[in-house]
Amino acid sequence: MEILLSGQLLVAALIIGSIYGLVALGLNLIYGTMRLLNIAHGDLVMIGAYTGYWLFTLAAVSPVLAMLAAGALAGLTGAALYFGLFRRQLAGSQPIERIEANSLLIFFGISIVIQNLTALAFTASPRTYQALDTLVRIGEVSIAQSRLVALAVCLGLSAAIVLFLRFSALGLSIRALIQHRTASRIVGIDVDRVQAFSFVLGFALAGLAGTLIGVTEQISPFMGFPFTIVAFVVIILGGLGNLAGGIAAGMVLGLIETYGVALTSANLRSVLIYGVFILVLVLRPEGLLQRRRLT
C-alpha cells in the first residue's frame, strides 16, 4: 500500500484532474448560460490536438504557442455556430426543456459532421508527435515537460476564469445569467452578448485543452468522444452550471480514477465512472457538489 504515498501517483492524479476540469469547464459554461448540451465538445478537443500537430510538424511551432492558435480556431468555430445556428433558437419562445433536448441532438449532428470532415481532410490514420518531452525531476518525482505545462496551464486558466467570473463586470453578467435567465434580462444585461461570449469562450477552452492533450495522446478524428463523456461525468458530479464545482469535480475524478485504479483494478475504471454518474443522476441530479438551490 506504500505506493499510495508515491508522489508520482499524486502528480499524475493532479494532471489528469486539471485537464478534466478545464475540458469540462467549457462544457459547463455553455450549459450554464444557455442550457445547451454540447455533445460535440470533445470534437473541439480533437480540433485543438490537430492544430498542435500540424503547427509542430509543418512549422515546428511549440505546443505552448500552438494552443493559443487552437483556442482561436475553436473559438471561431464557436462564433460561427452561435451566430449561424443557436442565436435564433435561444431568442425564440421555446420552453427551456425543449432547447435542452434539441441542443443535444443538434450538437450530435454537428459532432458527426466535424469528425467526418476531419477524416476526409486528414484521413483516419492516427498521428502522434513528441514535443516538450524532456524529463523534469522534482524530488523523487520525474515528469515530462509537456505534462508539467498541461498542469500549469489548466490550473492557471481555471483559476483565472473563476476570478474573472467573480470580479469582472462581464463575468458577473455570466454568473447572473447562469443563476437566473429571465431576471438577468430584466435587470438590463445584454443577454445576447454574454451568451455569444460564453459560447466562444467555452469552445476556445476545449480547443486549447486539446493541444495539451494531443502532445501525449494519439490524435485521430474520432478521439474526441471519450472527452465529451468525461466532461459530462465531471459536470454532473459538480452540478450542471456550477463552474467552480465542475473544476473541483474534475480534480475529484482525476483522484478517483488514479487511486481507484491503484487500489482495485484498472478494469473497473469505466464501471466505476459510469456507476458514479448514474447514481448521482438518479439520486441527486443537481450534482454532488451543488448547494441546493432555493426556489
Binding site: 433536448a101 450530435f108 449532428g109 467526418n116 448514474i278 438518479v282
Partner: protein, 309 residues
Amino acid sequence: MRLLTTREAVPLLLVAAIAAVLPLLGSDYYLGVGFILFGWIALAQSWTVVSGLAGYISLGHVVFAGIGGYVLVLTWGAVPVWAGALLGALAAGLFALLVGLPVLRVRGPYFVILTFGLAEFAKYVVINIENALGRFGRLILGGPPLETLYWAMAALALAGTLAVVAIRRLRLGAGLVAIREDELAADTIGVPTVRFKLFAFALSALLPGFVGALFVLRTGYFEPAQAFDPVISFTIVTMAIVGGSADARGPVFGALFLVALSELLWSNFPQVYMIVLGALLVGFVLFAPNGVAGLFERRRAAAAAPAGG
C-alpha cells in the same frame, strides 16, 4: 371508428409490401438490405413508444439489443435458437422493468444522458463478466440461414408498427401523450403516470431484445463493445427525428430514408454519408421537428386550407 385510418394503414402496408417484394428480386443482397431495414424499423418503433409518445428521449436504446444478443449467446447450445432469442427479448424487458422505476423519475436532458450512461455501464459490466469468464468474443457457428432471419426480422418490424398503432388507440397511448405534453397536469387529471411510463419502457425494450439476438445470429459473432455500440442508439434517434415520432409512420419513413441514403452513399463516399447524416439531423431538429411525416401533414393542411389561409 374506421378499421384503420390512413396514417395507420400506410406504415403497416408499406412494411408488408416491402417484405413481400424484396425476396422476389432473388438476391441475397436485397435480403440483407431488407434484414437491416426491418431491424431499424423495429428498433425505431420501439423507441417511439417511450421517446416519441411519452417524450422521454432515450439515448441508450442499444442496451436492450445488447442484452438480447448477450442472452442469446449465453443460452447458445443449451436451448433452441428461437427460445434463446425469445429469452433475450424477455430479459431486455425485465431489465427495463427493474431499472425503469428509478430511471424514469429523472426528466428532460438528465434522462437523455442517464440512458446513455446506463447503456455504457451495462456494456462495461458485460465486458468485465466476459473477461472473468475467460471469453473474448464468442463465435456462433451454424445459425439459421439468411431467408429465415429475413422473415423473422420482417415479422418484428410489422409487430413493432402494429404495436405503435395499437398503443395510440388505447388509453395508454393517450396517457403517454399527456405525459409528454405536461406530466404534472397528466398526473392531476388521473393518468397513472408512473405505471404508464414503466409499462411503456418495458414494452419498448422487448422488441429490441429480439432484434439484438437476430443481429448476433446474422454476424455469427458476439463482442460486447459491438453489441452495445452507442452508434446504434444514435442512429435510432436520428431515424425517429428524420421520420417523425408522433405515430407509426415516422420510424418507417425514417428507416427507409436512412437505409436508402446509406445504400446510395456509403459504397463510394462513406464520410460524405456520415456528414449528410449529421447535417440532416441538425436540419430536421431546427426546421422540421416533426420529421418527414410532419412535412406531409403540413403540405396536406396547406392544400386543404383555402388559398391564402
